[in-house]
Amino acid sequence: MNDVAVIEVVRKSVTVDCAVEEAFRIFTAEATSWWPVGSHSLYGDTVKDVVFEEHEGGEVYELTESGEKGHWATVLAWEPPHRLVLAWEVSPSVIGTEVEIRFLPEEDGTRVELEHGGWEHVAAEAPAKRDDYADGWDFVLSTYVERV
């Protein structure tokens, strides 16, 4: 596993015609209004809320109509209205990855830049870290496995 090639960081950007404060707020506090939960969530169409806890160490999660919670990410940096870093764990396939979102003021709006990296953690995990990792995984999986 040590010869795994470096997998390129996912880089995206989009420009919106509102101020950085508004863009940051819609991205986080109003995520439910735009997140494609039907196709991109743990519980699909039954998701009624997408929640960003607004502090470092906070959680990003989805909440279903019946109150089930699906963990997506942990907030590593919460710097409104300019920057947000998340330890992304929405799917086991992307555990250990990191998403950084920057909100940059432009003349007529805000440029939102997103980077999703850390794929090397997915492809190869050092054996020495295995125990730590297993604990982390138990936590992440608790919402799934306990119920099965």
């Binding site: 795994v4 989009v14 919106v16 819609i26 209004s33 735009w34 991109h40 990855t97 997915v122 995990e125």
Partner: protein, 104 residues
């Protein structure tokens, strides 16, 4: 949620997710994996086949043992899936952000 035969689809099963996670630490045998799970060895083999079919896992023979490990090419497929996901998500974010701007 995801089309058949896609890596993430294969990972929708909790046991397979667990196996995938275990393999991040390095190659493991079926018996080794089964020891950590409340399922039989044949069941583990079956799960490994599914993971192998979608390209997430590969195996090699080491003497008389088969060792399973993550397939880097499969991880690249996941990365590309996430790439497509963010394209869609940000497009929707833009739509919503600009609609709000117009109404205010």
């Amino acid at each position: 949620m995801i089309t058949n035969g896609h890596p993430l689809d294969a990972l929708s099963d909790p046991t397979r997710r667990h196996i995938f996670e275990q393999l991040k630490a390095g190659p493991r045998s079926v018996g080794d994996l089964a020891a950590d799970l409340p399922v039989s060895r044949p069941a583990v083999s079956q799960h490994l086949r599914v993971l192998e079919n979608v390209g997430l896992v590969t195996h090699r023979r080491n003497g008389t043992r088969h060792l399973y490990e993550l397939d880097a090419a499969g991880v690249a497929v996941l990365r590309n899936w996430v790439d497509g996901f963010w394209t869609e998500a940000l497009a929707r974010f833009k739509q919503v952000a600009e609609r709000k701007g117009e109404s205010s």
